[in-house]
């Protein structure tokens, strides 16, 4: 894992001092709220519905155990004892007060952490594959490149006041686990015919109000040119992106207006000027950074273990967990374990201080002291010995982090919605909870198989609803909360944007709507077909027809009792 040197320490320390003074000036009214807003956003501090929320950067999702313990400490000391994992591999605390925020940053700095550029109209925290470095299908480890991008984008003087926020994602495996197609820039590490490493560059993807899948503007960019090429893209965007309308300010709108070909032409023209300049990456720099991502001291182990095989056959619960929550590893005798932060009854992605401490200890004991955050709001222990999986499972189970539902119906991606977010049109957490409760039966979930259900409380799409196989979007109709449903969205190698099935539903109707969608799938599926395949084969028509075929009770209230059906 990347470790700070004196320069990283210095920059983060100076940031804390700068921010502390900005807060002081705000409190002394030397800065107006309007002037302070972009400054605090570039430090991850949002004003939410009830309190300030602080979003802390987890560069490309990588954490050390001391960092995880620091989260636990922050949760206890400055918040209400829990944090929230986000779809951008970050963590958020929901109950922060402004006066204490500089102290939190100072504490974070002691474990090489910060909240730099986790919000605001600048280049945001770069995201990547949560299985980077261990995935069986990896071509090249993307983390050294992600780190080079982190450094380059940190306080980039020219790109701190862009037309809009700017997100970069990088993936180096055959299977894209970083949702690169729905980012402002998506980078795929590829090798050309000569075996040289480079990037396929996608631009102009994004969700929000206008969901668009990114366009490839360069099939192969030699890795040395990564930063100068990014600079060229950003310069074209900074000058030509729309600033008259916040909703049309993302780079996707510019790329669409110009066409990907014309946009690419402008970028190439801009790039000619800086190509091969001093910002060109060097083999020495790649090597310096790559040394932080060398494999941990793995033992030489057989592919499996007799004890493990026995535990697997003897214990159905363990077997279920293995099937869903444990992923193949490129090193023999090891596996990657996903800790499900999706237990029924808990808001998706919410994690308590005690759980954070537990995860840190577990990582120290079983996974070389490292933890990762996934963009599905779960955690990963990437390097667990197969022979220790059973012990790990038992420990994790006791902490409520072993629900065997990774990739299943109740592994819901869900934004904070109306319970916290001041932009929300509707609540999302209670919808996720109602659905999770209704389909809590694991046999049923395993029978349905891989499915992504994503919920956003408004069109901003923080919950990735556009790319959910089932997407739920909170909408406002005459001041009350309704939910619009889309199906057929997908992330990964075949990213697609879901299609809306029809008029929206009330909160109480949602579990039944999901049930009906699943009914159509179960009746129509061919063997081995996943929900998304059936939707793609049949289109939305049969789903739509069945969901709307008969009225769904809307629920009513009797005094204090809410009766749903």
């Amino acid at each position: 894992m990347y470790r700070y040197d004196q320069y990283d320490h210095l920059i983060v320390k100076e940031r804390v001092a700068q921010y502390r003074d900005q807060v002081r000036r705000r409190l002394a009214d030397e800065l107006t709220e309007e002037e302070f807003l972009p400054l605090r956003l570039q430090n991850g501090l949002y004003m939410q519905r009830h309190a300030y929320m602080l979003r802390i950067a987890v560069p490309y999702g990588m954490l050390s155990s001391p960092q995880v313990r620091m989260f636990a400490h922050i949760a206890r000391k400055y918040d209400r004892g829990y944090g929230h994992l986000t779809t951008r591999q970050n963590i958020q605390f929901n109950w922060i007060n402004l006066e204490q925020s500089p102290d939190i940053l100072a504490e974070l700095a002691t474990v090489e952490m910060h909240a730099i550029q986790t919000s605001g109209n600048c280049i945001r925290n770069t995201t990547s594959d949560e299985l980077a470095g261990v995935a069986a299908d990896e071509i090249i480890d993307p983390r050294p490149y992600a780190e080079m991008i982190r450094e380059w984008s940190t306080f980039h003087p020219e790109f701190a006041f862009l037309p809009r926020k700017f997100k970069i994602a990088i993936s180096g495996a055959e299977q894209d686990r970083a949702a690169t197609a729905v980012h402002d820039i998506g980078l795929h590490v590829v090798k050309n015919a000569e075996g040289e490493v480079g990037f396929r560059v996608l631009v102009g993807g994004g969700m929000g109000r206008t969901p668009i899948i990114g366009s490839v503007i360069r099939e192969f960019l030699p890795w040395q040119h990564a930063l100068t090429y990014l600079e060229a893209i950003l310069r074209v965007y900074n000058q030509h992106g729309r600033r008259d309308n916040k909703y049309k300010a993302r780079i996707k709108i510019l790329v669409k207006a110009l066409s990907a070909e014309e946009f690419a032409r402008q970028v190439e023209a801009e790039w000619l000027d800086i190509k091969d300049g001093p910002a060109t990456l060097t083999a020495e720099e790649l090597q310096r950074i790559a040394q932080y991502f060398t494999p941990p001291p793995y033992e030489t182990l057989p592919a499996t273990d007799a004890g493990f095989e026995g535990q697997k056959t003897d214990n159905k619960g363990f077997a279920n967990w293995l099937k869903r929550n444990v992923k193949a590893h490129k090193v023999s005798g090891y596996a990657a374990v996903i800790l499900s932060v999706k237990k029924t009854g808990v808001p998706p992605g919410d994690i308590t201080a005690a759980q954070l401490d537990f995860v840190a200890d577990l990582a120290d004991q079983y996974s070389f002291g490292e933890v990762r955050v996934t963009h599905e709001q779960n955690l990963v222990l990437a390097d667990v010995k197969i022979s220790e999986l059973f012990t790990v499972w038992q420990a994790v189970k006791a902490q409520g982090l072993a629900t065997p539902n990774i990739g299943l119906l109740t592994d819901i991606i869900c934004c904070p919605g109306g319970d916290f977010c001041s932009l929300a049109n509707a609540k999302s957490i209670p919808i996720a909870q109602a659905i999770a409760e209704k389909f809590d039966n694991l046999d049923f979930q395993h029978d349905i198989g891989d499915i992504e259900l994503n919920i956003s409380g408004c069109i901003n799409a923080c919950g990735h609803h556009h790319v959910g196989n089932i997407g739920i979007l909170g909408v406002d109709k005459d001041g009350s909360e309704w939910y619009q449903v889309s199906i057929g969205g997908a992330q990964g190698n075949n990213t697609s944007i879901g299609k809306i099935i029809g008029p929206s539903f009330s909160a109480q109707q949602m579990p039944v709507v999901i049930e009906r969608l699943l009914n159509v799938y179960v009746q129509q599926r061919t063997e081995e077909e996943l929900f998304i395949d059936t939707v793609q084969r049949l289109g939305i028509a049969p789903f739509k027809e069945f969901v709307y075929a008969s009225p769904i009770p809307t629920g009513y209230t009797h005094g204090e009792d809410a009766c749903v059906y």
Binding site: I11, E14, P38, N121, E151, P157, Q239, D273, T282
Partner: protein, 177 residues
Amino acid sequence: MLVSTNIIKNREVVADDWSVLRLNEGDSADSVSIPAGKVIVPFSVWNARRAQLLERAEVGVWLGSDAQADVVKDDLAHFSLVAVDFPKFTDGRGYSIAYNLRTRLGYNGELRAIGDVLRDQLFYMQRVGFNAFAVRADKDINDALKGLTDFSEKYQTSWDEKTPLFRRVQRQAVSQD
């Protein structure tokens, strides 16, 4: 009438005797009256009144944030200073304009940020090539001066720093223990 105000120039607070001409509603570049003395005119006025302005000993021009640096490419030699306007401090186009003026067009004279110029942007502004700052009049200019020294290191290149950190220094992780 000219009022001398203070600006930040080359990291010092100094008196300044330039005035900035802005077109009000109803003014046209062709007919607006250009004050005597050292004046920074909008690019449109420069364009429309070139011959007249060339007679002056010293003239400055300012670009709006929607301009491209290229528009002044052939005229740079005539200007004692070039200014870039920040209509809102959140409008970041001026940073790319400045960068292009300095690097692509090789402009070496005074480059001044005008408009909504505030302390917390100065560090970035100097990095892309501004060396003069007309800090917004209602703000304390001595306080703003501190904004130039918020950071003592930077990772990436820009006008002020041609060599990225990774080429400039030997880097190695330091133990926290």
